[in-house]
Symmetry: C2
DNA sequence: CTCCATATCTAACGTTCGTTAGAATCGTAT
DNA sequence: ATACGATTCTAACGAACGTTAGATATGGAG
């Protein structure tokens, strides 16, 4: 991607530190020590600590979400959501830590108001997107809303379990839980 | 509880600041300013910043969890879990912020290794407890495990939604989501 | 070889942090 | 009234922080 090696290495180390110690617990000196460069090099590539953090959240994190969304091949509903969650089991450590940092900011556990606003705009797009995916497969459109809502809530916890707590959840277990919610409400054709 | 007024007020302010800005983002000076006392008063009542944080997490947070657990009157399974979540809607702000801080530490977003260990010991007790509550009500003990697991996962997100993000979820919506998981698997007698 | 932009460094600035020393105040028992 | 423990204060310490000034190294273009 970037030919500029040091700039990338600084960001990688910064993600690691922001994720582990939070914004205020992370120091430019520690990042520099980890990268093996001197302290002002970080200011050579990034205007400030805050800008470094901003770029990670508003560029890299959102790019990661898009990248992960593209990887899923759409089949039936249960298979789709199982794969969506199961793919997270195989996330590389850097990607997982970036994801974790994003969730931390999304939950307003770190970062500023500006980040939270960007996150909330993203979150508002979640329910309509899943409702659109699911509605064609549902037998009874009446209780569509509660099914979509419950599914999103279940997905959220599974994602937190894998990405935040670093657990691995077996593919069958993921499928079992998603099936428990969806199974009885899907059209006969769609599984 | 405590007749010692200032000590309590310091802790209240500390919970607020630790919750809002994280451990490293919180300064003893800001706590003192909020309480309206001088800076060394905090060291008069607490050995250090770390001890203040420790006491909040290992005493107050766990005490809050116990206190919330006791408030629920046990009826049928769905009613029980609906009330467990719905009660959080009415949490006072100080309690909610303490709860939020606890979740933050539980997710290793703040605090040290020692806290995480205490949290994990607590978490190990969660599944068996709910399995014991639910098993008598379940029609088919075969899929007991996946039902309990899925329910816990759903509860987790609902709790995060209310406590961490500060939303309010209508009682009927909570009941709908819990019913979606449990309804078809309960014994005919139990609702 | 010289020039110049890029990349990197050492050293320091001013600020804020957690923490403490030591003095002042207050209430109460003698 | 006075002596004393509990409570509160002002002032400061050393360390670490984010950030910057200014010097040095590097490497290709003329």
């Amino acid at each position: 991607m970037e030919d500029n090696n040091l700039r990338v290495r600084i960001k990688k180390a910064a993600i690691e530190h922001f994720n582990n110690y939070g914004y205020h617990g992370t120091t430019i000196r520690n990042i520099a020590r980890e990268v093996g460069c001197s302290l002002p090099m970080i200011y050579y590539y990034y205007k400030s600590k805050k800008e470094l953090f901003n770029e990670i959240i508003t560029n890299d994190y959102l790019a990661l979400l898009v990248r992960l969304g593209k990887k899923i091949k759409k089949t039936d509903a249960i298979g789709f959501y199982t794969e969506l969650v199961n793919n997270l089991n195989d996330l590389s450590d850097p990607d997982r830590h970036l994801y974790r940092l994003g969730i931390k900011v999304y939950m307003s556990f770190d970062g500023d108001e500006e980040h939270i606003e960007a996150m909330e705009r993203y979150e508002e797009s979640v329910y309509p997107r899943h409702a659109e995916i699911l509605r064609p497969h549902l037998r009874d459109p009446e209780n569509c809303e509660v099914i979509v809502r419950t599914l999103i809530h279940l997905l959220d916890t599974l994602i937190v379990e894998i990405v935040v707590k670093g657990r691995t959840i077996a593919r069958e277990d993921i499928e079992d839980e998603i099936s428990l919610i969806l199974c009885d409400h899907l059209k006969p054709g769609a599984r």
